[in-house]
Symmetry: C2
Subunit: 294 residues, 2 copies
């Protein structure tokens, strides 16, 4: 027998991110502007409805995969056979191998009941969207073990900041989106941009990157995660879930985001702009931590 | 008999918004920084648990009231007797008059069941937090009727922008918060700032303003709502729920936010910065809409 090969069947139905709309500016002139799309996308796993996400829609397949992964509804991508997006019905059908190959759905009565109970928890978290994950996920992260990662340098941090700034973003065109970016750390080299995703929902952008990492079979050990959004408890939890030890943002952080990052041993940089940053937790991963010579 | 007087009993237990935390800057120096608090607050109505919000905690009583109002769990503030915040247990106990005065809880079996069904809907919306409101609320807004409001002038729009910019905000100190502001339009005068609330959750800031309006018995007819956040479908819905016909933001808008604002007849300004803005919908409320003379 040969080793199993990932044969996940995927559509490629990303939408155009913007639509043109007329607005009246302060001089009374009519101007053509670009604004971001915002579309409902309902996820079905083996024909069972899970959730409706409001999304920009540029990476719907990765978004669906990443949502399933980050909600820990599916723990192994090999159990899935297909992810099929259909914008006519604003839905994505995810099909398991057991259904595709053996005609048996993943949904035992017990599994369906457990999921309903979990998604029914009502903690409205600080981040954008994704209101049901907090308490449940924390319980699974108490014992997160980080792999051995390449040490960071100050120049590597600057390289991330520069690359994000230089990226041709939808935000510059149309605003109203959050961006996430994934960088790989290279031994004795500078971080390389692997993936850049924008979405109207901040957590959608994170989930779409998680879905892509899953498809690519990437572990997080030597990766750096960048977000334009705030470093709240949810963002820290998702980063830890993806196994990524370094989290950066151009925004600030909240008290609970800080407490969690410290508890989990994450390296967290806030207020990354130009040649400035503030390192709040996990300084052990930064090589040159001595005050610079005047 | 005299007319009923609003005798709602309220605690006044707003928290300090920031805590001091040390961070290491790019030169390796340790610096004292201020960051925003983020605290769970669980809402109980007549001893029944409703939701846990993650909040900055500066306006917990108004937040609880506004959440109940915007979720349409309570439709008349006169039915409430007390709102009591207790940070030791991270909870707020809201007590109805029927319980306080007659010993009967609001929660009939039918009411409890209906609420569970509604809060259990799983649409994860674009905005920050508040993941369960969308479909249900839209159905109630199809027939929104705006009161007769004072026409806007371009100078009034500028006045709002200037006052928000000049406000001493937590954002400047610590970041990681969204702000909302409420202005009143005065006949033949300039808009006046009534309320300014910041929170780690954007929708918490809106809800805290809605709660305050409720306590003050303010209708939205001559008010202007300003948010630092994006103009998504949820923000438009909440503005319409509060009966406020004018919505402004320094950020952009999403396609669905635009479609809803147009459908509901809201006047919506995006990208309000300095002397610039873009008016997307409801131009009939702006007096001087002719192109300025060169």
């Amino acid at each position: 027998m040969t080793a199993p090969v990932c044969t996940l069947s995927l559509t490629d139905h990303g939408r155009a991110p913007t639509v043109a709309l007329q607005a009246q500016d302060e001089t009374g002139q009519t101007r053509e502007t670009l604004i971001c799309g915002e579309h409902p996308l309902t996820l079905y796993l083996d024909k069972r409805e899970l959730v409706t996400l409001m999304t920009l829609g540029t990476h719907p397949e990765d978004l669906a995969l990443g949502w399933l992964r980050n909600q820990r509804i599916v723990t192994d991508i090999e159990t899935l056979a297909a992810v099929q997006v259909d914008w006519d019905t604003e839905s994505v059908a995810i099909t398991s191998r057991t259904l595709a190959e053996h005609g048996r759905t993943l949904w035992t009565d017990q599994a369906a009941e457990a999921l309903d109970a979990r998604l029914g928890q009502r903690t409205v978290t600080t981040g954008c969207g994704q209101g049901t994950v907090y308490g449940d996920l924390m319980s699974s992260l108490g014992d997160v073990q980080w792999g051995h990662s390449i040490p960071l340098t100050r120049d590597a941090v600057y390289r991330v900041i520069d690359q994000v700034r230089g990226h041709d973003t939808l935000y510059k065109q149309a605003g109203a989106v959050h961006a996430c970016a994934l960088f790989s750390q290279v031994q004795a080299g500078m971080p390389r941009l692997l993936r850049f995703v924008e979405d109207v929902g901040r957590h959608n952008a994170v989930d779409a990157i998680a879905g892509w990492m899953w498809r690519e079979g990437l572990s997080g050990d030597n990766l750096i995660f960048y977000t334009t959004g705030r470093l709240t408890s949810e963002m820290v939890i998702k980063c830890a879930q993806m196994g990524i030890p370094v989290l950066m943002s151009r925004s600030g952080l909240t008290g609970m985001g800080h407490a969690l990052a410290e508890q989990l041993g994450l390296t967290m940089f806030a207020r990354c702009q130009g040649r400035h940053y503030l390192l709040y937790t996990g300084a052990h991963r930064l090589l040159d931590t001595q005050p610079a010579q005047a």
